[in-house]
Symmetry: C2
Subunit: 408 residues, 2 copies
């Protein structure tokens, strides 16, 4: 591959470890003999189109080091989806920008929609013979990318959710007579995140009921289950995904609000409040709702060490593969053994990944008892292992100020 | 004081470190030559009345050690408020129970209402010459107990809130065009908790606006402030207390729901959703709400080391003072120096504390800029210092299972 510059950008919703991948990309690229300059676009593909670039060699080394344990997307993100390939104006513009900046390696870090972006750019470059290796770095707390065993970001969110469920379970057990507590995790299409609540069960403090988008949610059956557990235990802890659906495939949350975001997905969140209200008003069951909200994707202070390490490696590997000339590819994690847990990194053609959704498989869900199976626990447990060592300053974690610095 | 047994119980809402106090009480009492047996009542004063006691000498030593870093109230809690002293039946019953069990030391751990309970019991015992030293151990995330410089529990909640605000501030800054994010902290009457959000400001990632119950909340002025910041910065981060009130002293939250809890306080929580909805519908400002909810009082995984240490000491001191014959008293923390931060423990007559509320003083609040003053930061910063060392098992913190064990 021609010697040239590498362009890196972050896209989609942040994770607790997306910046660990950025650190892996930047350090590896800065050190690589075949790469001249390392440019980081601000705000994802939007910044690429505006040529809003940060030269990584100008960044403070300590701030790059801090990226490993810092939440959010240090270089900013976007939710822009590129048009279809027959709308050539955008792609020809991107090609011009790349050529002008001698960009021969493009590493893009994101989820489903970001992989679609790389896929389109790589295919366009191929069609017009512009030589540039385009490699995707997977990230998503949702864990719904195809092919890869799991996604960087998931393990840390799972650790946060399981830890928080554990703490909430203990907290809500303090009164002799409890209530129904409904905790809502993210997850529009898949139940990977809400499933992680089950990891607290081994500590004697997990949810009594777990509901995923993969299975039909029957609100009356749900109420009966809660009633039964209230009678048996005097309290009931429920974990629901924001994307639970009724038998018609309609989001339960759409009853409450029905707006659309950029991708014409239905905007969700807050279904726990609806369910608590339903139990209270329709069944006279004292209930409370807790939406875990943004902290489940940005709580770097309780990130998984395994996840952080893998996120870094996936970023580093993307650079190495791009320099080898691999293009239209995404780095994937292959689990080679579960005990001891070992993984290898590989790349797959991004056609296999773009716009595909990996659902929680049936054998991970116990639909009779509304909980996760032992096979799920076996799958997820290695991903939440280990704690990271954060630098603290004045009682709070020190996070990279690359983004904050630029804003000032 | 006559040699006899010590009775300990926990009351009110839990904190991240209430069990550290329990550990201080139990270890000190078990080791004390003047104390025969150490009884822990389950579910606070309710368990006292039912003689539902756990003998601390029967508890597993490792489980007692784990209490130091465990959330929730290990022995259960209650929200029972005792009647006035002229309703003598209850008090005479309590006296009988105490006499029957030879209880000569009573240590009760709680907030305002719990101090009222001790106050009444101590006064009754005094009136009928029953010899028993009654000492209160303060705890409340609300930090609103009088006399003491601060309350065990507050520092850890403040550390959680500041850390989470820091992470949310970074997460919500990732898109080029942001929105208003409204984060709600607990605090019905006082703004100590929401004020802690300001501790993230020194890290370049604090809230733009903070609203406390101590100052009048004008929703139109609030909307204008948000609008201005959106124009200037493209995003706006707000921290509000659940108990913000309008110029008539009415809770803003009562607009949304108006139910009463046991103490005839107005049940609050969720005002952030109302404000986000208001900005969106009345001012067309894209807004989102995040209610920090229970994790702010049970996130022991990010507890403050200073707070945990002080909670333990306050528990230990209560036992020592009770044995010295001090009664109708609460242990207080006296700050002897701020730099270096040093404290001494003392006791005060509980008459000074019971049913009093300590508000955030005026010089801690910058009402013009809707933020906290440097004096507040100076006050609060020492309380969030240091991190605790948790034992982890299978990727999650190991917490004491004393309570969970009893339930099975």
């Amino acid at each position: 591959m021609t010697k040239g510059n590498l362009l890196f950008a972050q896209s989609g919703g942040p994770t607790a470890v997306i910046n660990a991948s950025a650190c892996g990309v930047i350090r590896t690229a800065l050190a690589h003999a075949d790469i001249d300059r390392v440019l980081c676009a601000r705000y994802g593909i939007d910044g690429v189109l505006k040529q809003d670039f940060v030269d990584a060699s100008q960044l403070d080394t300590e701030q790059i080091d801090l990226l490993i344990n810092s939440p959010a997307s240090a270089f900013g993100s976007c939710r822009t989806k590129l048009p279809t390939l027959d709308d050539t104006a955008v792609y020809s513009n991107i090609r011009d920008i790349f050529e002008q900046n001698n960009i021969r390696y493009f590493v893009y870090n994101g989820g489903n929609d970001s992989m679609d972006t790389i896929n389109k750019i790589a295919r366009y470059f191929d069609s017009c013979n512009y030589q540039c290796a385009c490699v995707g770095v997977p990230k998503t707390v949702d864990n719904d990318l195809a092919v890869t065993d799991h996604c960087p970001g998931y393990g840390s969110s799972a650790k946060f959710i399981a830890t928080t469920m554990h703490e909430i379970a203990l907290d809500t057990a303090v009164y002799a007579r409890g209530r129904v507590t409904i905790v809502e995790a993210m997850g529009r299409d898949t139940g990977w995140l809400v499933g992680a609540a089950a990891l607290a069960t081994a500590h004697g403090a997990g949810p009594d009921l777990i509901y995923l988008p993969e299975t039909t949610f029957d609100i009356e059956d749900f109420a009966q289950q809660c009633k039964k557990i209230m009678t048996d235990k005097g309290r009931c802890l429920v974990a629901v995904a924001e994307g639970i659906k009724d038998s018609n495939g309609q989001f339960i949350a759409t009853v409450a609000h029905n707006t659309n975001d950029t991708f014409a997905h239905t905007q969700l969140g807050g279904v726990c409040y609806y369910l608590a209200e339903y139990l209270t008003t329709q069944h006279n069951i004292h209930s409370r709702a807790i939406e875990l909200s943004l902290p489940q994707r940005c709580a770097s202070h309780i990130a998984s060490k395994v996840d952080t390490h893998e996120a870094y490696l996936v970023g580093a590997t993307a650079v190495q593969r791009a320099v080898q000339g691999i293009t239209n590819a995404m780095v994937v994690i292959v689990r080679t053994s579960n005990s001891p847990y070992t993984v290898e990194l590989d790349t797959v053609c991004i056609d296999q990944v773009a716009n595909a959704i990996r659902y929680v498989p049936e054998h991970f869900i116990d639909t009779v008892n509304h909980c996760m199976t032992a096979q799920y626990i076996e799958y997820a447990l290695p991903l939440i292992q280990g704690e990271t060592t954060l630098a603290y300053h004045n009682g709070l974690p020190r996070y990279s100020r690359i983004m904050a610095g630029k804003q000032q």
